[in-house]
Amino acid sequence: MKSYDLIIVGAGIIGTACADVASAAGLKLAIVEPQAIGGGATAAAMGHLVAMDDDPAELALSHYSLQLWEAFTDVAQIEYSRCGTLWVASNENELASIPAKLARLAAVGVHAELIERQRLYQLEPALAPGLAGGMRVLREAVVYPPGAARHLLDRALARGATLYPRQATALTRNGVELDDRSMLSGPVLVATGAALPRLLPQLPMRQRKGHLVITDRHPGIVHHQLLELGYADSAHGDADSSVAFNVQPRPTGQILIGSSREYGSDDSAVSMPMVQRMLERCFHYLPGLRDLQALRIWTGFRPVSADGRPYLGRVPGAQNVWVAAGHEGLGITTSLGSARLVIDQLLSQSTAIDASPYDPARIAA
């Protein structure tokens, strides 16, 4: 039986980020992934790097992660593009909510600015008339998530980690069993996202389906990643289905359009009524997009924990089993910070931010 300092199950953005940190710390590492690297929710994701400020714990983790992403801005494979985020206020009420957001962001050191109405249209002339203003976070970015996962994995492999292209079928007393009946022994870190219940049924996990549409190449129409200020209501609300305006300029000149959220649909098929709702919301903010060509529509499943915060830490009641999963729509942003938080705890080191809000014991207890 092969023995490792750590066996990471899952090579999405979370598993590969953990592999990067663990291998850099000198751990003898195995990574278990039967499918394409970053081929699950990571490949389906938009890849925005954005600080969400409405939950202090989430803000701390996203801000910590955004700083870690700065080390990857020049990796071609990751396609880091610092387009900035422009939150759009459609009315005076939404505009009035901005000063409080600015204060929350400033408290953790994120610089953002209020954008007056006239300036909004200078920045993004394609926006629909009649909007109230917005808030810009200049240093935020978009990345190409599967490229990032591949890069993080390659770094771990270059440091001597071993990739097992197999399915982990079960946790054993001291490791994992693979689908060829072979065993690996050592501490296990489960980073399988929405598939978590297969190995850790004690940690509740729901799937939240999303749709995305990508256009043909139309450079110069949109300059920032654009979100409606109501985005957080869609992201954090618990409605069975919701849509919110979220559009990105990709470095290819393509425009990536989201977003939708649905509970209760495990079917990966594209739902045209949901696409219609999502695009209708998009046209409300960017009417000029109606004439662009859509090349591709796809769906993905966000892994959602019991309370919306990821599980990062030791699995209660299990010996030497760790978990990093359940990041909903913020997995790309928070991957690097999540990995540090888990590996630091695993090595009994102090963590850069408070780890207790993510402790899986909060749920299992």
């Binding site: 591949r150 043909d216 359009i257 594209v270 045209m272 695009l279 046209f283 060509q293 859509a294 591709r296």
Partner: protein, 428 residues
């Protein structure tokens, strides 16, 4: 807006036309949908100078003007779900609901990568025919036709008729195979006549068997090719190279509808019974979709499906003709089988995905097409893997993938604007 029809037919080549005429003759209200401006499909594409081929001219105008057939030209099917198609044309989008659906959306060319294949001046063999018939100037240009199969003869005839100087036809199959195929043609007298007629029109143009184009040469545009014949390798100056290695069924719509595919070949085809019924109730498939069979298979299968779709009697002699036509297709596939030389044409630096400029060597080390796509963008471009996906399947590198919505690039407004006011569609 939703229009409702008894029968919706996708594709107005011989298969779709025959199906439309048959269904309408039984009293059904029919929608005949095609992306092109004129009916006829690829094989009966209307030539702006010379019109339709004789047989097509005799039937197409009466079919598209039939009072019970609504002819929807320049209309793309962009999505399908149970019982309805989402359509788009230049100005609008709407839904067509149907009782039965007949898929007759044919095949596309198999383009295989080789050094220089993306140079301007290099086209598919069918591509050259389409361009010539749409008025692309060929007069006085030196053209070489290469690849495999009888379609090369048809391409050469079209090029010659439009004034090109055809320097030669280079067939990859060896002379023995081509002769065996020709000797067996007596079983299909129509095909034999057609072959004789094509050869007659190509008198004086050399036909080389066992020959493969190794490279297309030129800086900004095609200037010459390097061709390997049984007598050795030789350069040849030319302005145009039309190269065709056969056809690939357009199965994406059938896949989206959930039709069971026959997985025997690398490209997949729709599985149907003798009445052309697919595995999905109410969905029929005819012609190239069920395996490359040519015009005669498509026509007779369209006739059968058009009757069966509306519950009319299907005559036993049509079923005999259907089998006979399919035997021709099998003979064709057998004698013009692609040789290993054709599969070895691409070099490591040859582009495989021309939408995203991905060379063959970039795909090394990837277990499947999806993994390669995520890492290299291969197949992520405007054609969504139609060209490179088929080539990679043919070359045995990655198996073909599934259907990805939408079926074709589509205006966002078609997907995002509410489609309201369902009403009964009317025929023209």
């Amino acid at each position: 807006m939703t229009e409702r029809y008894d029968v919706a037919i996708v594709g107005a080549g011989p298969g779709g036309l025959a199906a439309a005429r048959a269904a309408a003759s039984q009293g059904a209200r029919v929608a005949l949908i095609d992306a092109q401006a004129h009916a006829g499909g690829q094989v009966w594409r209307k030539d702006i100078e010379h019109g339709w081929p004789r047989r097509a001219q005799a039937c197409i105008p009466r079919i598209v003007e039939h009072p019970r057939i609504h002819w929807l030209a320049q209309t793309q099917v962009v999505h399908a779900d149970a019982g309805a198609l989402l359509l788009e044309n230049e100005t609008q989008a709407w839904r067509v609901a149907y009782d039965t659906l007949i898929l007759a959306n044919g095949a596309r060319e198999l383009l295989l990568p080789f050094p220089g294949w993306t140079l301007p001046g290099v086209t598919g063999a069918g591509g050259l025919q389409a361009l010539a018939k749409q008025g692309w100037p060929l007069h006085g240009r030196r053209a070489v036709i290469a690849g495999s199969g009888p379609l090369l003869l048809a391409a050469a005839v079209t090029a010659k008729r439009h004034g090109a100087q055809v320097l030669g036809i280079y067939e990859q199959a060896d002379a023995a195979s081509v002769h065996r195929f020709a000797r067996g043609l007596w079983r299909w007298p129509g095909k034999a006549l057609q072959a004789v007629s094509l050869r007659g029109q190509l008198a004086g143009i050399p036909y080389h068997c066992g020959s493969v184009v190794r490279e297309a040469l030129g800086t900004d545009t095609l200037q010459a090719i390097e061709v390997e014949t049984p007598r050795g390798s030789e350069p040849l100056s030319c302005d145009l190279l039309a190269i065709g290695f056969g056809l690939v069924p357009n199965i994406e719509l059938a896949q989206m509808l959930g039709c069971r595919l026959n997985e025997a070949g690398v490209h997949g085809r729709v599985e149907v019974d003798t009445m052309q019924r697919s595995s999905v109730p109410g969905v029929y498939a005819v012609g190239e979709l069920c395996g490359i069979g040519g015009r005669d298979s498509a026509w007779i299968e369209g006739l059968i499906a058009g009757h069966a779709a509306v519950g009319a009697k299907v005559q036993a002699r049509w079923l005999r003709r259907q089998r006979h036509a399919r035997e021709f297709a099998e003979s064709l596939q057998h004698h013009f089988k692609l040789s290993t030389r054709v599969r070895a044409m691409a070099r490591p630096d040859t582009l495989v995905c021309r939408c995203e400029d991905v060379p063959l060597q970039a795909l090394r080390g990837h277990a499947d097409a999806r993994s390669a796509k995520l890492a290299t963008r291969c197949g992520m471009g405007a054609c969504q893997g139609r060209i490179c996906g088929s080539a990679l399947a043919e070359l045995g590198i990655f198996p073909r993938g599934g259907s990805r919505p939408p079926l074709f690039p589509v205006r966002l407004s078609t997907l995002g604007d509410p489609i309201s006011n369902p009403h009964q569609g009317s025929c023209s």
